[in-house]
Symmetry: C2
Subunit: 351 residues, 2 copies
């Protein structure tokens, strides 16, 4: 199979900084779309994967799965896209396409789904490389249309932070009058507030710090509850239909479970690991409450989200950086010093 | 308010055996039904409450919330029942009747629901006393009709063990072709198998002991999986739509979560307490799986279940005892030496 050498930014080891490197992309096959990358959002997963925090990274690692770009070439079997189209790629670039999950537009739960980076490119028999690069080649099924009215840098985080919160909002049927709470105000949390608000829900942010109140209200929240304040927590027992918990580290979810209404669900979208401290079953049984998990979203659902963002003029709050600033950006992310997402202007890779 | 002295069996202390005692019942008020008790099932909760295992028992305790009897008297405002009707009473004898849960036929989640025993009788300003007695007085809303074709002793456990498993089967929309698993083969587990089977589901029992296989199949299970056998557990990953976990003590639910299909739910109906060992979030996130709790069922739903049992000729598997044998029955229950529910023939109280 023919390959093409492209510029990228990545790392060859868990403890090394990211730097410029060359990678191979496949030449377009029949159903492929080649995309010149304009912008790529910076997700916490990028940092975890670059540093092998989950223990299954394969080097070299080129992160990035919030990709916006322009089509430059299509395979002869491609029907949905043509050169010049503005498109996006999220966390998935392939799946088996035949299992029940794939048939039900739930490619994210396909046992053979291929991540945009750190997956396995079966054409090249090589790891997949992400969006911190000048171009990418993706099967058209996994390529998304970007509404023309939206800022191309600011829409990038919708491809991961956005869909990760949109999918549970849709699955648990949030709409006008729903009572939704969001735990954590970062990349995911700020999108959860915007999207739940646009769906017509009454949105509450759970926060440990009162100084986030104005920011949350500006994003579309109707209320902020300080989770460390017992009186405030007591006042909203049996209240929420859905809580989207975006916190990416182990934390006590028990106080939140009691704030769910009968039949309510707390859905974890940020934390992968053991649920420490221990979960108590009494509040779950005494109100038919659920604790669930949810992973990004399917391709059709991601397109639905992009279209929804186009219609409601929703984008992320971002800080645009150059690729040369990525290591500093990671350091700032670890200190939660970003409102609310870094997006790399990929022109900088040509410098 | 007028009261009536009736014979009962109960205990005045956590460490005392149950013995004969007299209790007061209120005389029927406008909406009340007075019931001569024919049979009363013996639930694990009876034992926990008699022994103050949950720490909130108020003595004297008269247990029993699986009650079948005959109406002997009705208040002037009662429209649903008349003397001579065969009726049943389950775990609830009152609720606020005005909150959203009550309005939605979810009285079991009403913050003011009154248990058949250990609750608060607002007419008498006394604790409520359960079905280990010759008669009971209950508001007609909480009294249920018993189909005429069913064995009156064997239908009693449907009022708690049955509805506790029926409610999640209905809430999570189990029907023809659903894949349901049951953890634990006791009073609740054996009803879960019968009911899921009658709803048309493919039913699997998770068990630690191979010698329960034939019993489970006889009850209606299609398969038995030995939960300690790694190969068997591997072979059913991503499989079940609903798992009903009836185990009444702390146990590791992590191995079961992985056997849920995408969007599947494991519902805890037996265990009240901290979820030890710790729950892992990865299998929940990687398949949008949920862990939930569920408590008995509402009044309309309990009537639906009794009607369903009538239509499908379903009753519990029981061992009928005399009230004088109740302490021995508790001892046998603690050794799981019952297939699958003791039911007291309340005639014996007159001896």
């Amino acid at each position: 199979m023919k390959v093409k050498n492209v510029k990228a930014y990545g790392t060859k080891a868990a403890d090394a900084s990211l730097k410029a490197m060359d990678i191979n992309r496949r030449e377009v096959t029949a159903k492929d779309v080649e995309i010149d990358i304009l912008y790529c959002g910076v997700c916490h997963s990028d940092l975890h994967f670059a540093r092998n925090d989950w223990g299954f990274s394969v080097y070299p690692v080129v992160p990035g799965h919030e990709i916006v770009g322009k089509v430059v070439k299509v395979g002869e079997g491609v029907t949905k896209y043509k050169a010049g189209d503005v498109v996006a790629v999220g966390c998935l670039v392939d799946s088996c396409r035949s299992c029940n999950n794939c048939k039900n537009d739930l490619e994210q739960y396909c046992p053979e789904w291929v991540g945009t980076y750190g997956g396995h490119d079966k054409h090249l028999n090589l790891p997949t490389f992400g969006g911190y690069s000048e171009s990418i080649v993706v099967d058209e099924h996994f390529v998304l249309k970007v509404p023309k009215n939206l800022d191309l840098a600011a829409i990038a985080p919708v491809l991961c932070a956005g869909i990760t919160t949109w999918s549970p909002l849709r699955h648990w049927k949030v709409g006008k009058g729903s009572k939704v709470a969001v735990v954590g105000l970062g990349g995911l949390g700020h999108m959860a507030i915007k999207l739940a608000d646009a769906l017509g829900a009454h949105v509450t942010l759970f926060s440990r710090s009162p100084d986030k109140k104005q920011d949350a209200m500006d994003l579309g929240a109707d209320a902020v509850v300080i989770s460390t304040d017992e009186e405030q927590m007591k006042s909203i027992q049996n209240h929420f239909d859905l809580i989207i918990d975006t916190v990416p580290y182990a934390h006590d979810i028990n106080p939140y479970v009691g704030t769910l209404n009968t039949n309510g669900t707390l859905v974890l979208v940020g934390y992968l690991g053991p649920l420490d401290p221990i979960l108590h079953t009494v509040p779950m049984i005494m109100g038919r409450r659920s604790v669930a998990g949810s992973l990004i979203g399917g391709i059709a659902e991601t397109q639905e989200l992009l279209d929804f963002c186009g219609k409601h003029n929703i984008v992320s709050e971002i800080e645009v950086i150059k690729i040369q600033d990525i290591n500093e950006a990671y350091a700032r992310m670890l200190k939660s010093d970003v409102h609310y997402r870094f997006v790399i202007d990929m022109k900088s890779l040509k410098n």
